[in-house]
């Protein structure tokens, strides 16, 4: 089996955004996600979610196109008011076709 080159988009954000972000991913056509509870510090000092627990890191593997759209859309919606970071990287995925087509 040859792996297929796709993009892994990573969003690290306050936990209150968790459900919103996952809904958005589905809406735009991602086939899955993986979420990790993380801690973090960035340019905004204080974290309101402190009482709500740590940050969440959401990774989703998608086609390069979708990666671009996802990043733009999340940035557009959340950069103004929320504390988050978004980045993407290349990954070679087994059964890659499974993650390419929006469901």
């Amino acid at each position: 089996m040859t792996p297929i080159r796709l993009r892994k988009v990573t969003v690290i954000a306050e936990r209150v955004l968790r459900d919103d972000l996952l809904d958005l991913l589905k809406e735009l056509g991602a086939t899955g996600w993986t979420l990790t509870a993380v801690e973090g510090e960035g340019t905004r000092g204080i974290r309101a979610s402190e009482w709500e627990g740590r940050n969440v890191q959401i990774d989703t593997i998608v086609s390069p196109d979708l990666a671009e759209r996802l990043m733009d859309e999340i940035g557009r919606r959340y950069f103004a008011d929320w504390s988050l970071i978004i980045y993407a990287a290349d990954v070679d995925v087994m059964r890659g076709e499974k993650y390419q087509h929006p469901r």
């Binding site: 209150v16 204080i46 309101a48 402190e50 009482w51 627990g53 740590r54 008011d81």
Partner: protein, 324 residues
């Protein structure tokens, strides 16, 4: 003065102090997050059960007057907090609204500490008060959102946020556990609760001590921010609980509550929530700066009430009771 010492030298208050101290010396002491969440689930459910068991033996009509009083306080306190934060605190609309939402609801731990103080003083309080805590959670956040939305500071999709924030409050775990406990306690009545009392009632005070250490650690972090918040906010963080607390005590005495009940009502009105409100506010008013509301609620007003506010409300309750 001896009332003050009496109030401060208790395991619950000293555990809070231990948390602050541990933070100050940069100790690695930390209550793991799941334990802290487990404790707050336990505390809220236990409070609800206790209140529900009390409701089960209370004629429901007796709740009417205190409920009206609670809603009145729930209407007045956020307006007053908003005004003070705008005028004296010089905060932006969104920030002032966010702070108002916190002062409009209740700090559950201050509520408990007031209950303890009342017990230590040899007084009793009405058993249905936990139901009032739940009642007081909602109006504060609604009024705060009204202030904010008038200014359009709720973000582009503020309509959606409105609904979301309300959902967040009403289905938030604090309310669900408190109300859930109330209903369960009320359905079961004191007798059927007997078997669970060793866990929920007898062990309560000790578990609260662990929770207080965690709160102390969190407040210790905020205390450092308090200096940055500036003198104005620091003063307001001490003034508002006195104002609102006095109002609460006064209203309660007027409504015919016991002296002990009046103290607890004072603590309810004078305290600022730091468990349920922050999450709802973060969703509804993302533009408001968390540094203001968290520092005020947890770093200033909570320790103030624990140390000075509650003894003051006790004095006031005695005073007002003698007067009226």
């Amino acid at each position: 003065m001896s009332l003050l010492a009496e109030n401060l030298i208790s395991p619950v208050v000293l555990c809070f102090a231990l948390g602050i101290f541990a933070r100050a010396i940069r100790s690695d002491l930390a209550i793991p997050e799941p334990i802290q969440q487990g404790l707050s689930i336990y505390l809220l459910l236990a409070i609800g059960l206790k209140g529900g068991a009390a409701l089960a033996v209370e004629p429901l009509a007796a709740l009417l007057l205190p409920a009206v009083l609670t809603l009145a306080l729930g209407g007045i306190t956020p307006v007053s907090a908003y005004g003070l934060m705008r005028r004296i605190g010089r905060l932006e609309r969104a920030d002032a609204a966010a702070v108002a939402a916190h002062y409009g609801s209740v700090s559950v731990v201050t509520f408990l500490a007031a209950g303890e103080a009342v017990k230590r003083a040899g007084l009793t309080a009405e058993g249905y008060l936990p139901a009032m805590v739940a009642l007081l959670e909602v109006p504060g956040i609604v009024i705060a959102l009204l202030f904010a939305s008038r200014a359009g500071s709720g973000g582009e999709s503020s309509g959606g946020n409105w609904k979301k924030a309300l959902h967040e409050v009403v289905t938030g775990k604090s309310i669900v556990l408190l109300l859930g406990g109330l209903v369960i306690g009320w359905l079961c009545g004191p007798e059927k609760l007997t078997d669970v009392q060793p866990f929920f009632a007898t062990a309560f005070k000790g578990a609260l001590c662990l929770f207080m250490i965690d709160l102390g650690l969190a407040a210790g972090k905020r205390l450092r921010d308090a200096r940055l918040a500036g003198l104005r906010l620091l003063v307001l963080g001490c003034l508002i609980p006195v104002l609102h607390g006095a109002l609460g005590v006064f209203g309660a005495v007027l409504a015919g509550l016991s002296e002990g009940g009046a103290v607890i009502f004072g603590a309810m009105a004078g305290s600022a929530s730091y468990i349920a409100a922050p999450a709802a506010v973060r969703v509804a008013l993302p533009r408001a700066n968390p540094a203001y509301y968290l520092t005020l609620a947890l770093g200033i007003t909570f320790p103030f009430n624990l140390a000075l506010g509650i003894p003051l409300f006790q004095e006031l309750a005695t005073l007002f009771h003698a007067w009226l």
